[in-house]
Symmetry: C2
Subunit: 154 residues, 2 copies
């Protein structure tokens, strides 16, 4: 379950009770910090994928090795993953570190707008579809005669 | 495993072979799109947590209901989660939608800088620690006499 995984990645479980401790206010600073942590981990994961893809073209044995390493060492905690990799094949760890920094530099600035738009659009779409369902329900609820719509009620 | 979960969230598994299809270039546009999708899902999860915490203060029975709903319906796919919730308790779905939009609006602009800094710092820290380990290894590797450091080799 993603939520459980994300809890582990960002240490949410321990902060649950404190999040809204002062009442209705949201701890936006904490949300931002946690989200940045999740993003960092996600870029590490993307960097691993990129390096794996590069190696599988240029150095298949190395790709196989890294693939096997990443199946034994979870990328869930990106920092621990890198720490382990540094002790086994430092050049691969350095490469993943370089790639994740590059990815973050190239991609990060576009994210705020993309995320806001994505959420706005999908909220709008949910509201539209819900309204549509409500309307259909009202229309398909005539004074009586349930036999007319045998499959709309089940 | 987070990578597997993220693969499901963002549909990576299907794109693996195509990511670097043209050689060494990274498909930054695709990475940005996938990251935005993960962020959207993450904000939905954070919004659910916020609403749960608010309800547990103001409306415990409703909080219990939502908690039980979210243990039966995975938040892994935020949109499906909302779709299901809309059919059962539309007011809660609308509330989560509003909160996630609010979170994204308040937090998103800070993320690029936070993530870049986080990655730079942790890369630097990994390099520093690794250098330290290498140096210690070199120092603790004198011309001969392995008996002098019985526990540095095991």
């Amino acid at each position: 379950m993603l939520s459980a995984e994300l809890e582990q990645v960002s240490g949410f479980s321990t902060q649950h009770s404190g999040l809204l401790g002062g009442g209705q206010t949201m701890d936006l600073k904490q949300v931002a910090k946690d989200t940045a942590k999740v993003l960092t981990s996600y870029f590490t994961y993307q960097a691993l994928r990129t390096v794996l893809a590069q190696l599988s073209e240029n150095d298949p044995p190395q790709a196989l090795w890294l693939h096997s390493f990443s199946s034994k060492n979870s990328i869930q905690d990106g920092e621990t993953f890198l720490l382990e990799l540094l002790t086994e094949k430092q050049e691969l760890a350095f490469r993943i570190m370089t790639v994740r920094q590059h990815l973050a530099e190239e991609v990060a600035d576009f994210l705020p707008e993309m995320v806001r738009t994505s959420i706005q659009q999908s909220n709008m779409e949910h509201r539209r579809q819900h309204l549509e369902r409500m309307t259909q329900f009202t229309i398909s609820e005539p004074p009586a005669r349930p036999e007319q719509q045998p499959d709309s009620e089940t």
